[in-house]
Symmetry: D2
Subunit: 331 residues, 4 copies
């Protein structure tokens, strides 16, 4: 089959590799679309170190083309989306039910061959079967949506609160769509990149601005979500979290980034800071919400390239003009 | 002013009574609309015993027409909705933050003169100021909505779950509207009264039926909400709560009603049963959600009568043909 | 090795069977002690149907005597306790992090050979390593304790509440010991079997009685835990749950048992009913609490017999005179 | 009566002032003991600005000596402890059930005359009646204990976790006593002041050290509680919070203190930071726990002076040699 392969940092090509063979409980998925996200860039740039070479791609959906000998849950032809998580199931955190903190964290497209290929292998338990009407290419968004669902699980917010989101990239906009559909009284979005604010408005933002200072809410927001990973946004967001409110660190900062906060405010105003990391028990629900029409895929997916142009797709994503970039292995 | 007065069980009239005079922290509200609910019927029928005579009406909104000497929070002309709760603030439960379980529970329209009148008195802290655009007559729905918000606080449900609601009366339909806007993967509604199902569909129900057996979900629903108070519905609903799921008792049964359940299932399937009683910390958020357009008032409010026809309005409500019945003291 | 074997309902013997051979990630445990509980009786009596014959025993601890080829986490000689849970990891509930509701629920001593034998096999991930000082025979209590920890996770009670426990058998007394060490303001115990109340007092109960009516608490208890499975106790306990309180169904009723409750009270008093089923993410913490001295094993373990007397041990347990009965395969 | 009076920053005296007169729902308490804490120092030093002059003292207990005309809940002679909180009940946060974040926060001994006097006035709802056996002087510890109960409410920790506390002053030691009685697997205490560690050990600490680096727990603690307010401790504590764990900011830093944290860790390890501010719905439960013997008062209360020596008591507390300093208005 054809597949994108990252051989070493900076060296990515599309080439012919052997087709995958399913183990007894594995399924071979014919990939309809595979999204690109920051993690792929980190792997391609060598900042994140799985053992190379690797076929990248952890956001994908497709059709079942072959099943392992002990698979009864799906059939050839089923439309499926794939949870890339490969928790060990044996470490302290897996035993505590917090597999996303697994001491041996691994994932399809990160530690094992992923979806930037004609075919990809996945354990059957990682599949969510999709109903007939779903457009498979769009379903590659279920993975990022499942991160957002995890974030909202962590927040476990009451209805009727005001939410402020920093960042109107793919993840900020998916958080926005979740927020407007889960009982927020209002959802405001801040992005320094003014070009993205119109999209936020289109997707239901109550107010948008290039700086939160422009938004008229001196008492702050009950919930603030950082979807930038940028320290300036994090510190600004923390300062705008209302008394009694919660700040969610969803964006991924550099490992050595340092943010400042006021411990007096944490105490005196009972501010809560929480973090949300990838996918936990959230993928099947994200698949259901996606199937129920939660996500405006046409707005979020801005670039679709053939698999053969995977290196160009990486560059397009790096350029940051559009939102979600996908490769379509079927053409 | 003109006001409806319940003198004794079965004896309701509309008459001229003295205008209310505000205490220092009170506000006089010119009532735009006052909704009728089961509690009013209970009072009029003598099943529920405040000291009579009383001006009923605990679901109302209007305009500020006079303020007490120490009121600074609102001004004459402000549009307001009124939380009828009058918790004592001093009992065991009030001190625990559970005022809706107050040992000295009282409410405007139940223990003190209510909104079925041209003017009604309320402590300023019970008011939620509404933004300009809001239609005041519709805002009388904020009170029932605030009960629904309490129910959803109690549920504190994760997103992406399947919800089944019994009852498509006003409360079932408000629960439905809340559920479809708070991240449910699907919301089904059952009502033995087939005539009400079309309204449920219009308001966003995924599926409707006169019996849950017709809905194709053998494994059950993660969340089941009873909005009937009828034992047959409660027992059916409990049996259809999915393994690990939650059953919410929102409907008000007779005090001596008895329902059966399987303690083995509670244990073995870790089913949770919770209850939700009136309003707790939920009124201001309901007001915000209402102002944000959460409720389709045109569909829910089916009957609007002048205040002078209060007895007829009670009868209309008792007849149960429409959904929410209101009296409009302004004409 | 020698092992107890249940061949068919009513037919239990101790015999010589082949020693277990570990798979790559398995460990062979030399069993120090194996407790007997109601589940063993159900298997022996044919009320619960794993495929027979089976070596029973799901409450055990011992020493590592052999490790599989890929085991690095423990060494021969380590003292370990064994979580019997064998969740499939692939079903809907396992993916939701609720493995104890696994659609393919299985357990060591129930679906696979258990601890009523000289040696028992367990996946390494099921082991909790114990510190040096621990008495291994007592450590067989970690399994029932881990059920209690699950119950307390479900309760997630605030400190400073009053707790009432029905049943002073092994499980009631372990719940008692947990309650007195987790911030209850008081813990009362009711058992119709007066002979067991002195033990409850010894283990820290604030008050004991053969009927809750004798305990002077007319407003009820914030938390009521049923550890009997008996409908009379459940209904009594529900009626004594205080306004705003929680009833935990820990005891296992017959599958067809029916209990009555007042749906009006659930609503009006916001009573919560929850259930707790076996072990979920709780075994390692139970092992830590046990090692920290949470349990008075000398009081709870009343009967210790050699493995050869397994049938007699079953009968002793059935007789119900003592509390926990164990067999000691080492002599 | 005799009372301590803070006239202006730096000017504290004990003098004769008029006896308090109860309003209809007030109670006059004959103060048995009044504890001194950092807040009193802040008031005396002018860093915290209620309108002066004021009688300080918000930690006190005593006997009812007079009741207002509408008081029926207590009788002259009752032993009581006093919740100093005076939430307005009308602001946004009070209406949300978060009175400790009240926009008009006030308290006995801070905004109104307090307990450093022979007699003190309190609304009847602020009283917790104590059982006969309780030593009234010790009961002045209920107020700081009620802050600790609030902290544990915020934590809502599962049982069986490892806890690390920074600071072995009165508050650290009360947090320690709560932790050892609420199901921690271990509780370690760090204080730079080595002289206080022996007390921590006496009160049940599993391990103590002058630096957390000495404690052998490289993976960190599931729960870390700062009871110092010192940035160095906060930053060290944050760094030792285990993956998936929670850091509680209980200590009060300077308003302009700044602490650094890693937003990457918050995200990647899903670390939670929470704060706990004073008393919320926790006083009555603290009173119950105190009456049940939760606190070793003899160890915590190190200095007892007559009321006449209030200025000396402030200085003793400032000196920081002992732990809790009290004045005893009865002699
Ligand atoms: N928690 C999880 O499980 C999870 C999962 C996936 C992704 N993530 C993370 O989520 C974050 C967002 O992902 P994405 O794909 O949406 O990234 P993105 O496309 O780069 O979007 C981030 C947006 O934030 C804007 N921004 C930068 N600094 C800002 C500031 N100070 N104030 C306001 N806006 C600012 C950026 O503007 P410019 O373009 O002008 O810089 C950009 O538009 C990333 O950190 C990603 O790693 C987290
Ligand atoms: N928890 C709270 O805070 C709160 C607040 C307000 C109201 N409530 C309660 O909520 C409930 C609903 O109020 P509402 O105003 O919506 O009442 P409603 O208009 O009477 O609606 C109840 C609906 O349930 C239907 N129903 C009756 N038995 C049923 C069954 N076995 N299965 C399915 N549907 C069945 C009724 O049909 P028929 O017309 O054919 O009988 C009716 O359409 C009441 O019990 C009310 O007291 C609770
Ligand atoms: N949730 C879980 O994960 C889990 C785990 C293990 C066990 N369990 C269950 O927990 C329950 C207790 O187990 P156990 O080993 O402690 O059982 P046990 O030894 O039989 O103890 C039950 C006690 O309850 C007493 N009792 C019976 N009816 C009562 C009533 N109406 N009021 C008060 N006390 C009454 C019994 O007295 P008599 O002896 O006079 O009948 C007996 O002393 C069982 O149902 C068991 O299956 C649950
Ligand atoms: N959240 C609330 O509701 C609430 C209520 C009451 C009090 N508080 C706060 O709780 C904190 C503790 O009160 P307290 O009365 O116990 O105070 P305290 O007596 O001053 O105790 C603090 C202890 O922390 C030690 N310490 C200082 N820096 C340290 C470091 N880097 N590492 C380890 N230990 C260090 C101090 O040692 P040295 O003596 O050598 O400095 C002292 O022994 C205060 O900030 C107080 O304001 C909070
Ligand atoms: Zn793991
Ligand atoms: Zn009350
Ligand atoms: Zn499973
Ligand atoms: Zn307030």
């Amino acid at each position: 089959m054809r597949a994108a392969v990252i051989h070493e940092p900076g060296k990515v090509s599309v080439e012919t590799v052997p087709d995958p063979t399913p183990g007894p409980r594995d399924v071979v998925v014919g990939v309809a679309a595979c999204g690109i996200c920051g993690t792929d860039l980190h792997i391609a740039d060598g900042e994140f170190a799985p053992s190379l070479p690797i076929i990248p791609g952890h956001e994908f959906a497709g059709e079942v083309v072959e099943i392992g000998s002990d698979v009864t849950e799906v059939r050839v032809g089923d439309k499926v989306a794939v949870d890339p998580s490969l928790f060990c199931g044996e470490c302290h955190f897996c035993k505590l039910g917090r597999g996303n903190l697994c001491d041996n964290w691994a994932a399809i497209g990160v530690s094992k061959a992923g979806g930037a290929a004609e075919f990809a292998l996945a354990p059957v338990k990682n599949l969510s079967v999709l109903p007939e009407g779903v457009r498979l290419e769009d379903a590659a968004l279920i993975e990022p949506l499942s991160c957002v669902v995890r974030g909202f699980d962590v927040l476990s917010a009451r209805v009727g609160q005001h939410i402020l989101i920093y960042g109107a990239g793919t993840m900020g906009l998916l958080n926005l769509q979740m927020a407007v559909r889960t009982g927020a009284a209002s959802v405001s979005v801040v992005d320094t990149n003014a070009g993205r604010l119109a999209t936020a408005t289109k997707l239901g933002a109550t107010a948008v601005a290039t700086s939160a200072a422009e938004l008229d809410r001196p008492l702050g927001w009950e919930i603030v979500i950082d979807c930038t990973g940028v320290v300036a946004a994090i510190e600004d967001g923390f300062s705008r979290t209302r008394k009694g409110g919660t700040f969610l660190q969803f964006g991924v900062s550099n490992e050595d980034a340092v943010a400042k906060f006021s411990p007096f405010r944490i105490y005196n105003q009972e501010i809560t800071i929480v973090g949300s990391m990838a996918v936990l028990h959230s993928y099947p629900r994200a698949a259901e919400l996606f199937a129920a029409g939660f996500v405006d895929a046409d707005t979020i997916i801005t670039d679709r390239l053939p698999l053969e142009q995977y290196p160009a797709a990486l560059d397009a994503f790096r350029g940051g003009k559009g939102l979600k970039t996908q490769v379509l292995p079927r053409g």
